[in-house]
């Protein structure tokens, strides 16, 4: 039981627990905060997997920008005050739970032999791992091999911005 394994299991419990609480919470603001906790735990997983740049991007973009946007909209719409509306399809919850268990069972059939054999990632020295996911190496790959997708994402963000502005524009005011 290495310290890393203990840390993994502790963080996995927190991640799954916060995801479950996000689903079960009646208050939308509580759900958003549980999701922020989940993102923070996943950022620590990224650090454990030798991806410091992605970990910081996760905290800055996901937890820092996307979840703040969610909280803005929740506060704007007053969603934390809305009651949980009644289900239109009452059989949906039992079937969803059953399918959840069934999927995990099927995934378990595939994963349990692998988990038992315990293929670990190749051990590299700490210096290589630090440079592996650092901004310099990611930049080298991103701007050489993946330059075209990078430029396309800038276009995508522009289109998203235009879309968000056009969608929320008030049509009654012309000119």
């Amino acid at each position: 039981m290495t310290p890393e394994l203990i840390l993994f299991f502790a963080l996995a419990v927190v991640a799954i627990g916060s995801a479950v609480m996000m689903l079960l919470s009646r208050n939308a603001v509580h759900s958003a905060l549980y999701l922020v906790a989940n993102f923070a735990v996943v950022a620590v997983f990224f650090l454990m997997l030798g991806a410091p740049f992605i970990a910081m991007a996760q905290v800055t973009v996901y937890a820092g920008a996307i979840m703040v946007l969610f909280l803005f909209v929740i506060m704007l719409l007053g969603a934390d005050m809305l009651r949980q509306p009644s289900q239109a399809l009452p059989w949906q919850v039992p079937i969803a739970v059953f399918l959840f268990v069934a999927f995990l069972g099927i995934a378990g059939i595939v994963l349990v032999p692998q988990v038992l054999s315990g293929v670990t990632p190749p051990a590299v020295e700490a210096d290589t791992l630090r440079k592996f996911g650092g901004p310099l190496s990611i930049g080298k790959v991103l701007f050489n091999q993946y330059l075209l997708p990078f430029e396309l994402t800038s276009f995508l963000l522009l289109v998203g911005m235009i879309g968000a502005v056009v969608l929320t524009r008030d049509d009654k005011k012309k000119g």
């Binding site: 993994f8 479950v20 996000m22 689903l23 996307i66 996911g133 995508l156 289109v159």
Partner: protein, 100 residues
């Protein structure tokens, strides 16, 4: 060293929790947050396999997934706000105007 299959199993659990959230909850914003949970689970698998094979392509892909998720959240929340203006409700059960 944590075996890679542990990360895959954790990601599978988080992903199915996200799918359950999309199926069970009626609040449009909670459904959206469950979609973000699913994307996060996929990101975790990408980074785990990038570490397994010591290839950076997995992490670059995570970078792009985050970018697309950010754009999608912006547009999706704009849609929810616009729908709320007319319907005064964000329960997906109330969005049945196209129903025959």
């Amino acid at each position: 060293m944590v075996p890679t299959s542990y990360y895959v199993a954790l990601s599978a659990i988080l992903f199915t929790l996200g799918v359950m959230g999309v199926l069970i909850r009626r609040n449009a914003i909670i459904i959206f947050m469950s979609v973000e949970l699913m994307l996060n689970a996929a990101n975790l698998v990408f980074v785990a396999f990038a570490r397994q094979f010591m290839l950076l392509d997995g992490q670059v892909f995570v970078f792009f997934v985050m970018t697309v998720a950010a754009a999608e959240v912006a547009v999706g929340l704009a849609l929810i706000v616009t729908i709320f203006r007319t319907k005064k409700s964000i329960s997906v059960d109330d969005l049945n105007s196209l129903k025959g």
